[in-house]
C-alpha cells in the first residue's frame, strides 16, 4: 500500500499542495499508526499531516475522494493486488475471460481487473485531457480487449442463427467497457493531470504578452494576479527594522555577552521599526493604452489589496483618486466605474500632473514611492516635465512601469524621454512575469 500513498502524494503535489519528503514520511507513519481500514479517519489524518492551510485542506479533501474512490476496490483486494504486482502480466485474464467477466456482471471482479489493467497501462502518468482516450484504449487492451474484438468479428461474420444476437451482446459489452475505461481515465486525469495542466496554462499565460491576451486569458490572469499580490503582500508585510545607533539595548547586550563574563564586546543597539511602504500609484486609463487598461487596473486593484496604505489615482486628461472605488467594488465593477468616470479620453499627462500638484501634492513626501502605470503618450501636449521633476524631488523614488518597449520610447507623441531623467527606474512591463519582478523591486526598495 506504500505505493498508493506515494501516488496520492504525487497527485497532491501536482495540484500545488507542496508536500516535502519529511511530510511524506510522516504520512507513512501516520498511516502505520491508524491503518487503511477507516476511510474517513484516514482522510482526517492525512489532511492533518499533509495539508498546511485551509485552502490546501480543501484541495486535499477533493483529491482524497477522487483518488481513493477508485482504490476502494484495490483496498478490498489489497492482499492479492500487492502480492500479484510483480507478475501482473502473468495473472492477466486470458482474452476469453474478459467476455465472461463482463457477462458475469460481477462488479467487484470487473473493477479489480480494470484497476490492474489501469496500473499496467501506467495511468498515473496521465498529464493532459487529450490523453484520456489513449489511456482508455490502453486499459481495454490490457484487459484483453483484442480477444473481445476478435470474438465480435467472428460473430459478425458468422452465419448461424445465434450469431447476430451474440454480436449485439458483444457490441453492448464493448460499449460499456469503453465507457468504464474512459471514466477511469478521466478520473485519473482529475487526480494527476488537472493540477499540472492548470500550472502549464498559468505559466503560459504569465509569459504571454499582455496586449495579446484574450478574454479567456484575462480570467486566468485575475487568479494569477491575485496570487502574485498575495505573495508580494506576505513577503513585504513584515515590519522593517532599522538599527538605531546611539541607544544601547542593555538587556540584550548583557545577555549576548554573558559568555564573555559580562564584558560588552558585542554591543546591541535598540532597533526602531520602519514604516511600511507608502505608495502612490497613478494609472493611465486613456485610449492609447486601451489594450493594457484592464491589466493596469488589475494591477492597481491587487496592489490596493496587498499594500494597506496605497493612494491610487487614475487619469486620462483629468486626474482623480480612485481609492474608494477600488475598496468598495469587486474588480469588474471597479474597472467599469473607473473607465466610465475617467477613461478613454485623449491623454493629457500635463493636465494630470497639474491636477496632482494642485490637489494632492501633500501626499507625496520623502517616504513615498510613486508608481506610474502608463505609456507616456501625451498627444503632443505639454508633458509638464517640470512638475514631474518636482514630484521626483519630493518623493523617495519614482517608478514608471511602461507597457511599451524601449525601442518605442520617444517615438511619435511619446514624452518618455522628457520624464526618463527623473525616474528612479523605468521598466518595460510586457508580461505578467515582468510585472511581478517590477512590483517586487518596488516593494523591496524599502528594505
Amino acid at each position: 500500500m506504500e505505493r498508493t500513498l506515494t501516488n496520492f502524494i504525487r497527485a497532491l503535489r501536482s495540484s500545488e499542495v507542496r508536500v516535502s519528503t519529511g511530510e511524506a514520511l510522516d504520512a507513512t507513519r501516520a498511516v502505520a499508526l491508524i491503518g487503511y481500514g477507516d476511510r474517513s479517519l484516514l482522510k482526517d489524518s492525512l489532511g492533518c499531516v499533509l495539508a498546511k492551510s485551509d485552502q490546501e485542506k480543501q484541495v486535499h479533501d477533493r483529491l482524497f475522494d477522487l483518488y481513493f474512490s477508485h482504490s476502494e476496490s484495490q483496498a478490498d483486494n489489497a492482499a492479492s493486488a500487492t502480492g500479484n504486482e510483480a507478475e501482473d502480466g502473468a495473472s492477466q485474464p486470458p482474452p476469453g475471460d474478459l467476455v465472461e467477466l463482463l457477462q458475469s456482471g460481477d462488479e467487484s471482479a470487473i473493477s479489480t481487473a480494470m484497476e490492474r489493467a489501469a496500473e499496467a497501462a501506467g495511468i498515473d502518468d496521465i498529464r493532459f485531457s487529450t490523453q484520456v482516450a489513449y489511456y482508455a484504449q490502453q486499459i481495454i487492451k490490457q484487459m484483453g480487449g483484442e480477444g473481445l474484438q476478435q470474438r465480435l468479428l467472428e460473430a459478425l461474420q458468422g452465419r448461424e442463427p445465434g450469431d447476430e444476437a451474440e454480436a449485439q451482446d458483444l457490441i453492448d459489452l464493448r460499449r460499456d467497457l469503453t465507457m468504464r475505461a474512459r471514466e477511469r481515465a478521466e478520473r485519473a486525469f482529475d487526480v494527476f493531470g488537472a493540477g499540472e495542466t492548470q500550472q502549464f496554462r498559468d505559466d503560459f499565460a504569465a509569459e504571454k504578452r499582455l496586449n495579446a491576451l484574450d478574454r479567456y486569458d484575462m480570467e486566468r490572469m485575475k487568479g494569477l494576479i491575485a496570487k502574485i499580490a498575495k505573495r508580494l503582500a506576505v513577503k513585504h508585510s513584515r515590519r522593517r527594522r532599522k538599527r538605531n545607533r546611539g541607544q544601547l539595548d542593555v538587556r540584550r547586550t548583557m545577555r549576548a555577552n554573558a559568555g564573555l563574563d559580562g564584558v560588552p564586546f558585542n554591543v546591541i543597539w535598540r532597533q526602531k521599526k520602519k514604516d511600511r511602504p507608502k505608495i502612490v500609484a497613478i494609472c493611465d486609463v486613456s485610449g492609447s493604452v486601451a489594450q493594457y487598461v484592464r491589466f493596469l487596473l488589475l494591477l492597481l486593484y491587487s496592489l490596493a489589496d496587498a499594500v494597506p496604505d496605497i493612494h491610487a489615482f487614475a487619469f486620462s486628461h483629468r486626474l482623480k483618486p480612485v481609492d474608494d472605488i477600488l475598496a468598495d467594488n469587486e474588480f469588474e465593477a471597479a474597472m467599469a466605474k473607473i473607465i466610465r468616470e475617467l477613461g478613454m479620453g485623449s491623454t493629457d499627462y500635463g493636465q494630470a500632473w497639474s491636477d496632482l500638484k494642485v490637489e494632492h501634492e501633500s501626499i507625496i513626501d520623502r517616504r513615498t514611492t510613486v508608481i506610474v502605470l502608463g505609456d507616456g503618450r501625451s498627444n503632443y501636449g505639454d508633458p509638464r516635465a517640470d512638475l514631474f521633476r518636482d514630484f521626483a524631488q519630493r518623493a523617495k523614488s519614482m517608478i514608471w512601469l511602461n507597457p511599451e518597449g524601449r525601442s518605442q520610447w520617444g517615438t511619435g507623441d511619446s514624452a518618455i524621454p522628457r520624464y526618463l531623467p527623473f525616474c528612479t527606474q523605468m521598466s518595460h512591463v510586457a508580461t505578467l512575469k515582468d510585472l511581478e519582478r517590477a512590483v517586487d523591486e518596488v516593494l523591496s526598495a524599502y528594505g
Binding site: R29, L33, C48, K52, S53, V234, R238, R239, G259
Partner: protein
C-alpha cells in the same frame, strides 16, 4: 508504527479514547480534533491550530494536560519576544553576588599560587561554576524540556511573534532540544506535546508549518455548542440552553465584524444564569447583547434583528411545542 519512535508516553489506544478522555475534563472534542491529538501523540509532532479567536484553541492544550496529568507550560508570543524570555536567561544578579563574595576570598584561593598560569587555572575552575545550571533561569521552553514525565507546551499566538523567533523555534520543534552555548545541548528525555496556536495575523513560514500537524478549529455546530455550554455551565436549564445556542448560531450568520465565539456563548450563558433567566425574551437579550458582541456597530446591527432571532430561537421546535409550553426538564 515504526519501532524507532519512542514517544515516552503510553500510546493512546484510539481516537475515541481521546474524545472520551477530553470529555472527562470538560472539553468537547470533534473527530478532527481528536484525530490531530492522536496523531500528535503517536508521531511526536507539534499541532498547529488555526481558527478564529475563542473557539477553544488554547483550551485544548489546557484540557489535554489536565487529562494526561502533565504540567502545562505556556509561552505567550508577542512582538519582540526573544530567546531570553522564551528559553533561558542567566541569573545575572546572583552571579554578581557570588562574584562579590568570592572576591574577598580571592587572596586565600590564589594566594598559594606563585605564578600567573597556576592562578589562572584556579580561576578557570570557578568560571565553569558560574555558567552552570545553578545560575540558569529556565523559561517555558527549557522548563518544558526538563520535565521528567513530559509536559504540554503551549506556544500561544505564534503569529504575533517575529520571524526570527519562528526560525529559532525550529530546532526546538523538530529535535526537542535546545542549545545553551555555555553549557551545551539540552535534550528532552520525554518530548513535550507541543501545541501552537495562531490567529493568522501574519502568514507563518513554510518551514514551521512543515514541522507541524495542521488543525483548523472553526465555529461549532449547534449540537456541539450545546454540549460545550452544558459542560462549562452545568446549571443552565435545557430549555434556555437550546434557546441561547440557537440565538448565537443565528447571530453568527448575521453580517457582523466579530462573530461571537464559544467563549462568548459561555459567558452569555453565565450572565443569563446569574440573572435568573429561564427563557429568552427580547428586552433581556437587548440589555445583555454586549456580552456577546464586542463592537458598537455589531450591537447596533444585531439589535435590529433581535425580534426575529429571538422568535426563531424560542419558536416552536420540531415537536410543535412552544417555548412557554415546554416542560421544565431540569
Amino acid at each position: 508504527m515504526a519501532k524507532d519512535i519512542s514517544t515516552g508516553y503510553e500510546p493512546l489506544s484510539s481516537i475515541d479514547a481521546v474524545t472520551a478522555g477530553l470529555a472527562t475534563v470538560g472539553y468537547i472534542s470533534t473527530r478532527e480534533i481528536s484525530t490531530a491529538v492522536f496523531l500528535a501523540h503517536g508521531l511526536r509532532k507539534p499541532i498547529l491550530i488555526e481558527g478564529p479567536a475563542g473557539v477553544g484553541k488554547t483550551d485544548l492544550a489546557q484540557s489535554l494536560a489536565k487529562w494526561l496529568s502533565l504540567p502545562v507550560l505556556r509561552l505567550q508570543c508577542y512582538e519582540g519576544l526573544d530567546e531570553g524570555k522564551a528559553l533561558y536567561e542567566w541569573k545575572y544578579g546572583k552571579q554578581l553576588l557570588y562574584t562579590q563574595i568570592l572576591k574577598e576570598k580571592l587572596n586565600e584561593l590564589i594566594g598559594s599560587a606563585d605564578n600567573l598560569s597556576t592562578s589562572l587555572g584556579k580561576l578557570a575552575s570557578f568560571e565553569d561554576l558560574f555558567f552552570s545550571e545553578q545560575f540558569l533561569e529556565s523559561r517555558p521552553l527549557l522548563t518544558a524540556m526538563q520535565q521528567p514525565a513530559g509536559s504540554v507546551l503551549l506556544i500561544d499566538e505564534i503569529d504575533k511573534s517575529d520571524e526570527e523567533f519562528e526560525a529559532f523555534l525550529l530546532e526546538v520543534l523538530s529535535d526537542y532540544q535546545v542549545t545553551v552555548p555555555e553549557i551545551g545541548t539540552i535534550r528532552a528525555n520525554v518530548p513535550p506535546l507541543v501545541i501552537l496556536t495562531s490567529n493568522n495575523v501574519r502568514e507563518l513560514g513554510d518551514a514551521l508549518k512543515r514541522r507541524c500537524l495542521h488543525l483548523h478549529i472553526g465555529f461549532p455546530d449547534a449540537a456541539r455548542e450545546r454540549m460545550i455550554v452544558q459542560a462549562r455551565v452545568p446549571d443552565v436549564s435545557d430549555i434556555l440552553l437550546k434557546q441561547l445556542v440557537s440565538f448565537v448560531q443565528g447571530v453568527r450568520e448575521a453580517d457582523v465584524k466579530k462573530r461571537p465565539s464559544i467563549s462568548e456563548t459561555v459567558d452569555w450563558a453565565r450572565t443569563l444564569l446569574l440573572m435568573h433567566t429561564t427563557a429568552l425574551d427580547e428586552e433581556f437579550v437587548r440589555t445583555t447583547l454586549n456580552v456577546l458582541l464586542k463592537h458598537e456597530s455589531d450591537i447596533a446591527a444585531v439589535s435590529k434583528e433581535v425580534p426575529r432571532l429571538v422568535r426563531e430561537a424560542t419558536g416552536p421546535d420540531k415537536a410543535g411545542r412552544t417555548a412557554s409550553g415546554y416542560p421544565e426538564l431540569g
